[in-house]
């Protein structure tokens, strides 16, 4: 039966909490309200306030306490309501969770999942639209995933909860209820999704288009448009995992297509696209027949509130189509 991205998250949480008494949820408004977007709806009623904990307004301790709980054998799922407000947890995530296993020579670790709501295009403005994945994709010791489909939303969240590493799970608020991503998701409590590889969402020969999250929707539309317009076949790769990156799938694809276009909602400088482009320019240089083009937001501090400004900021299908043409025509 077909469910939304948001329902997939909710189902994954319910299934994992049913399965494993060590799984619990900690975050702002996750309990009585069921989350700012409803991702934890119904869970406090089912599992009680000891396993679905409304935390004080303090992202730092939400993550720090989850780290400690994970060290003590639990499987905490912390929620950061908006990635725009993840800064108070910057130390807990990058200096503690990311480094605990390393600094203890493998003798201590914190298998913890942090669900993080991100993304723009909803009119949320400067402080309810950010991406900020770079801060964490840059940190070895952290796994950073960003599901783009309902099936991945479920399977990757379940896999994250069972993964023996700190996993940052980025969920794009625009995908939550998007009809286009409603789908039948794999049934079965132990049906997990892979946390280490990209997925080729549309096979093609002429150009490789790499993206993730909500942008996958735009990328697929752009690919379709381009193939209609001039018959070019675009291979669309869904990154799925931002850290550690699956270089191989991307390199293999580029070795076939000889062309690479990267789409990120994040602004240009040091977005994930930079690392992908750098890796390809280093390890698949001889396969490249054209410059590597990045479609990204402009380098401004955040997404402004006014519709005109937000529209200017966000990547869209036309911008992607233009970029694909440029790469193909080179």
């Amino acid at each position: 039966m077909s469910i939304t991205y948001l329902e997939a998250i909710n189902t994954a949480l319910r299934e994992e909490m049913d399965r494993d008494p060590n799984v619990f949820i900690l975050g702002e408004d996750v309990g009585v309200m069921g989350g700012a977007f409803g991702a934890t709806k119904g869970l406090i009623e089912r599992f009680g306030a000891d396993r679905v904990i409304d935390s004080p307004l303090a992202e730092g301790i939400i993550v720090s306490a989850s780290i400690g709980a994970a060290m003590a054998g639990m499987r905490p799922v912390a929620e950061i309501q908006f990635v725009d407000f993840i800064t108070p947890a910057m130390d807990a995530i990058t200096q503690q969770a990311a480094k605990l296993r390393y600094r203890s020579g493998g003798s201590q670790s914190c298998p913890l999942t942090i669900r993080i709501c991100y993304g723009g295009g909803t009119g949320g403005g400067l402080y309810h639209s950010q991406t900020n994945t770079t801060w964490f994709a840059h940190e070895p010791g952290l796994m950073v995933v960003a599901p783009a489909t309902a099936s991945d939303a479920k399977g990757m969240l379940k896999a994250s909860i069972r993964q023996d590493d700190p996993v940052l799970y980025f969920e794009h608020k625009k995908l939550y209820r998007l009809p286009a991503v409603k789908e039948d998701v794999p049934e079965g409590v132990d049906n997990l999704a892979d946390l280490f590889h990209c997925a080729i969402r549309r096979p093609g020969e002429d150009v490789t288009l790499v993206t993730y999250g909500y942008m996958l929707q735009l990328a697929l539309q752009a690919a379709e448009k381009v193939s209609e317009e001039n018959g070019a076949s675009v291979e669309v790769i869904d990154l799925r995992v931002l850290n550690p990156l699956d270089h191989e799938t991307i390199l293999e694809s580029v070795s076939r297509t000889g062309r690479l276009c990267i789409v990120q909602e994040d602004h240009r400088t040091l977005g994930i696209g930079s690392e992908i482009a750098a890796t390809v320019a280093e390890r698949a240089f001889d396969c490249l027949d054209a410059p590597i083009v990045r479609v990204a937001a402009p380098d401004v501090p955040a997404i402004p509130a006014a519709e005109t400004l937000e529209h200017f900021y966000m990547p869209n299908v036309d911008k992607i189509v233009d970029a694909l043409h440029r790469v193909l025509q080179y």
């Binding site: 702002e28 408004d29 309990g31 009585v32 309200m33 700012a36 409304d54 935390s55 004080p56 307004l57 303090a58 730092g60 725009d84 407000f85 800064t87 108070p88 009119g123 949320g124 403005g125 400067l126 402080y127 309810h128 402009p298 380098d299 401004v300 501090p301 402004p304 509130a305 006014a306 519709e307 005109t308 400004l309 529209h311 200017f312 900021y313």
Partner: protein, 359 residues
């Protein structure tokens, strides 16, 4: 230690307008001003919520309806030179401090005429010339920044103060603690106004912290904390004046906890199902505006005509401001590239070769 000012306005009236040795007489004009300002705040926000219902502007509206006595009591006598560090729920501080309605509504509408040029979300309004910090949504951020402004007032030896407004949820954040501790150890001319409306989005204050009165937290920082009835505008005014005077005269910071309540949800999209209807009813019965109306009536300072006059005049001002905002043009798309740095990145984008800013 925290003490409580919980004098009900009713008794207050009988006590001859707070005319006690330690509380110099509050003039009738001031009393009327406190009332009329609260009324205007209420009218403005009910109107804004109405426009929001009609989807006349984008984004969410965080209203302080029901809490007006706090912003008005603490903000009414601030000078232009005094700084206000507002939170997401303190849009009315703009009105109180004297920001033109046209600026306020163009901000809600995200117009090119807005002080922030359409960048910040509704109610996140600042005004440079009146020293209102344009707020981030990040809780407690402005309180933190405010400490630096207070430090400069102290360095320059002027007697301007910084008043930071935030909710009770803000007290859980480490940022807030660092600001409070810094204000204490530097003895800064600053007032922290904690609007304890019992809820942080859906989270009850009981899950926020163990203590009942936020004011007691000031003990940790070595300066006074006081809890006041946040629906009693006169009580708030008296407490705030005391704190502001102390700050102006080098006496250091104060934490004021005003216990109050927001009538509506966190924002217009929040049905606030997490709270009991009785709780809401109880607090609506404590409407700070109705209470002040009774109080002024008792003092023969109120008449229905007067209220009607304020209302109709202000509605006209609102009509005019809203019409201007509706007619104003949105920012040009390319303006998204402006105000990133002191130099122009558009120029950088458009003619990279010629680019070389001065300093």
């Amino acid at each position: 230690m925290a003490t409580k000012v919980n004098e009900r306005v009713a008794d207050a009236a009988s006590r001859k307008n707070h005319d006690t040795p330690d509380n110099p007489l509050i003039s009738s004009d001031k009393l009327k001003q406190l009332y009329s300002t609260m009324l205007r705040c209420r009218l403005l926000e009910e109107r804004a919520l109405n426009l929001k219902k009609q989807a006349r502007f984008k984004g969410h509206y965080y209203s302080a309806v029901g809490q007006e006595a706090v912003a008005v009591g603490a903000g009414i006598d601030l000078r232009p030179e005094d700084t206000v560090a507002p939170s997401h729920r303190d849009f009315i501080l703009n009105l109180i401090k004297g920001v033109p309605l046209t600026a306020m509504f163009s901000q809600l509408y995200g117009r090119s005429t807005s002080p922030d040029k359409g960048r910040s979300a509704p109610t996140h309004a600042g005004y440079a010339s009146l020293n209102i910090i344009t707020p981030a949504s990040t809780i407690a951020a402005q309180a933190c920044i405010g400490t630096g402004i207070a430090m400069v007032n102290q360095m320059k030896g002027n007697d301007n103060v910084v008043v930071a407004f935030h909710g009770e949820g803000a007290t859980s954040l480490g940022f807030w603690h660092e600001a409070m501790n810094f204000a204490g150890v530097r003895n800064l001319p600053m007032v922290f106004v904690c609007q304890n409306n019992l809820w942080a989005e859906s989270v009850s204050v009981k899950l926020q912290t163990k203590v009942e009165d936020m004011s007691i937290k000031a003990v940790a920082y070595g300066f006074p904390g006081i809890t006041v009835d946040g629906n009693d505008v006169i009580a708030v005014y008296r407490v705030a004046q005391e704190a502001i005077v102390r700050a102006r005269s080098g006496g250091g910071p104060t934490l004021i906890e005003a216990k109050t309540y927001r009538w509506y949800g966190h924002s217009e999209i929040d049905p606030a199902k997490y709270r009991a209807t009785e709780e809401l009813e109880d607090w609506k019965a404590k409407d700070p505006i109705a209470a002040m109306e009774r109080y002024l009536t008792g003092k023969k300072l109120f008449s229905a005509d007067w209220k009607q006059k304020i209302t109709s005049e202000f509605q006209k001002e609102l009509d005019a401001a809203i019409e201007i905002a509706e007619k104003a043009s949105p920012p040009e798309p390319i303006e998204a590239l402006d105000y990133v740095y002191s130099f122009d990145v558009r120029d950088r984008e458009l003619n990279r070769k010629t680019y070389s800013p001065q300093f």
